[in-house]
């Protein structure tokens, strides 16, 4: 179980206080696939970095299986949007997947198996010896996903992992994520700005407001468990759910205009 309780985050620097997260509370059950969606600049990345233990909250807490997160928790893996910057360019694909396992002090036999299985699961069995930069963007993101799979996390966080790949690759990767999630039984929190994607992937969609962020709405996705790019997206129920999420996100954007706060505040972390 992943719990976010009354999370609050303020960036303080250069005489300017930026409240990124206002008051955020939600839960993701064991083995659940939840999507977080919100207008751009709504503090999604801040939220994800806080859950991953990479950032300290100003107030509130994150708990994973009841344990308070104070630093990167064991058994949690993150897939970042910027695959080009999260893969190690000096390591071959297999070594990239292997490094976290080495840090976990697993035996070399076990590591070899995990690396092989993970790369097979993402369809990259023949790329073991390539360098990441020799692969296309979609393939690089597959490597990052394979690295997360091999790590055998209990909780998997994904920060807009498909924002930088083309539409067709994106559809393939979405189906890959569904199949990986079902096979691993992992708790998955998927952050995205794409409303269709959140409805297509999730069992449960959490809609965020503009910054300072709170949960605008939560929605259970009652689509059949087996999803398919053609039939699911053509399902009238999909359209209804999508319209609901869309309306909520639009409202969140309008609110920001109403309050006179500049929309899309600069992410204080970005350099």
């Amino acid at each position: 179980m992943l719990e976010v309780n009354r999370l609050h985050k303020v960036y303080d620097g250069h005489g300017r206080r930026v409240a990124a997260i206002g008051d955020l509370t939600f839960r993701v059950g064991d083995g659940e696939l939840a999507c977080v969606v919100g207008p751009s600049g709504c503090g999604k990345t801040t939220l994800l970095r806080t859950i991953a233990g990479l950032l300290r909250p100003t107030a509130g807490e994150v708990r994973i299986d009841g344990t308070l997160v104070t630093g990167p928790p064991p058994g949690l893996a993150v897939v970042f949007q910027e695959y080009g910057r999260s893969l190690f360019p000096w390591m071959r694909v297999a070594d990239n997947v292997d490094l976290p396992l080495r840090a976990k002090h697993l035996g070399s036999d076990q590591r070899r198996h995990l690396v092989r299985d993970a790369l097979a699961a993402v369809g990259l069995s023949d790329a073991h010896h390539a360098y990441p930069w020799q692969l296309s963007g979609g393939m690089q993101q597959r490597v990052a996903i394979a690295r997360a799979i091999a790590y055998q996390p209990r909780v998997l966080l994904m920060d807009e992992p498909f924002a930088a790949v083309d539409a067709q690759t994106r559809a393939d990767l979405e189906d890959l994520i569904r199949s990986v999630w079902r096979r691993l039984g992992v708790t998955l929190l998927f952050v995205t700005h794409d409303i269709d994607e959140s409805v297509y992937l999730g069992q449960h969609v959490i809609m965020l407001s503009h910054a300072p962020t709170f949960v605008a709405d939560e929605l259970a996705i009652d689509l059949p468990d087996t999803r398919d790019q053609l039939t699911t997206r053509a399902d009238p129920r999909f359209t209804t759910l999508r319209a609901h999420v869309y309306a909520q996100v639009q409202r969140a954007k309008r609110d920001v205009a109403g309050t006179g706060i500049a929309s899309e505040p600069q992410h204080p972390d970005s350099r």
């Binding site: 949690l76 893996a77 910057r85 999260s86 930069w133 690295r147 350099r271």
Partner: protein
């Protein structure tokens, strides 16, 4: 094949022209201080292909190797520590700026007082000058490691020595190599300079001896040898760099072609 021939032609073209100019320009020279190149080459063979290799060239190279190795090891270690700790950086930066600003040849007399006139002094002179480029570049390289890369490492529990070995140092290695290349040329210069003071062997010492003894062709041959040595060491350095940074050059090429 023709591309390779073209590259070799380009590489050797200018040296060949300069050599020919020197050769023919100096051919009939009777000027005592500017002997014909032919005589210099004869002197080169007689001077350096004998006991001088063991007595002068090898000791020089040994001191260079030790001094350079110490400078690089020390520079990378210290640079990594400073690059990783903002507090340490704030503490030592003014001192480093001061020490770096001292021209290394001026420390030779000082070091002679403390370290005598033996090998130790010469190695220390090389270290005192060659340390800075690699140190400062390591600091910059370590500071500039991509944040996402560090986050990835942290969230996957890559800590301590693993973090240093698999994340920080490889990420900083292109910049470290830039520093190490500058350090190498400084080390060669300081190798010669350190031997011009109170030495009894070495390349710098020999060239000065020849000059004082009016053995002009031999003196020129020493200068020639130092030049060739510099070229050979630079080539060796490039070879090592291309092996270690193969990923870096490959990545840059991949980015350019997309």
């Amino acid at each position: 094949m023709t591309a390779l021939a073209k590259r070799i032609g380009l590489m050797l073209g200018l040296p060949a022209v300069l050599f020919a100019l020197w050769w023919f320009g100096s051919a009939g020279s009777t000027d005592f201080y500017r002997p014909p190149l032919q005589r210099i080459l004869v002197a080169f063979k007689e001077t350096w292909f004998g006991s001088r290799i063991v007595d002068d060239v090898l000791p020089s190279l040994a001191r260079l190797a030790v001094g350079y190795a110490v400078a690089v090891a020390f520079g990378v270690a210290l640079g990594t520590a400073i690059g990783l700790s903002p507090r340490l950086r704030a503490l030592v930066e003014p001192v480093l700026e001061f020490l770096r600003a001292i021209p290394p040849p001026v420390v030779v007399p000082v070091l002679m007082l403390f370290a005598g006139i033996g090998d130790l002094m010469k190695v220390l002179v090389i270290v005192s000058g060659a340390l800075w480029p690699v140190l400062l570049n390591t600091v910059e390289g370590v500071r500039a490691v991509d944040e996402i890369l560090l986050d990835t490492s942290r969230s996957y529990g890559v800590r301590g020595l693993n973090r240093l070995r698999y994340t920080i140092l490889p990420a900083a290695s292109p910049q470290i190599f830039t520093g190490a290349r500058q350090s190498l040329s400084i080390a060669i210069i300081l190798m010669v300079i350190s031997e011009m003071f109170a030495a009894s062997s070495g390349l710098g010492f020999t060239v000065v001896q020849f000059q004082r003894g009016f053995q002009i062709p031999e003196m020129w041959s020493g200068v020639l040898l130092l030049g060739l040595l510099g070229v050979a060491l630079a080539a060796l350095f490039r070879l090592v760099e291309h092996r270690v940074l193969a990923w870096y050059h490959g990545q840059r090429q991949a980015h350019r072609s997309w």
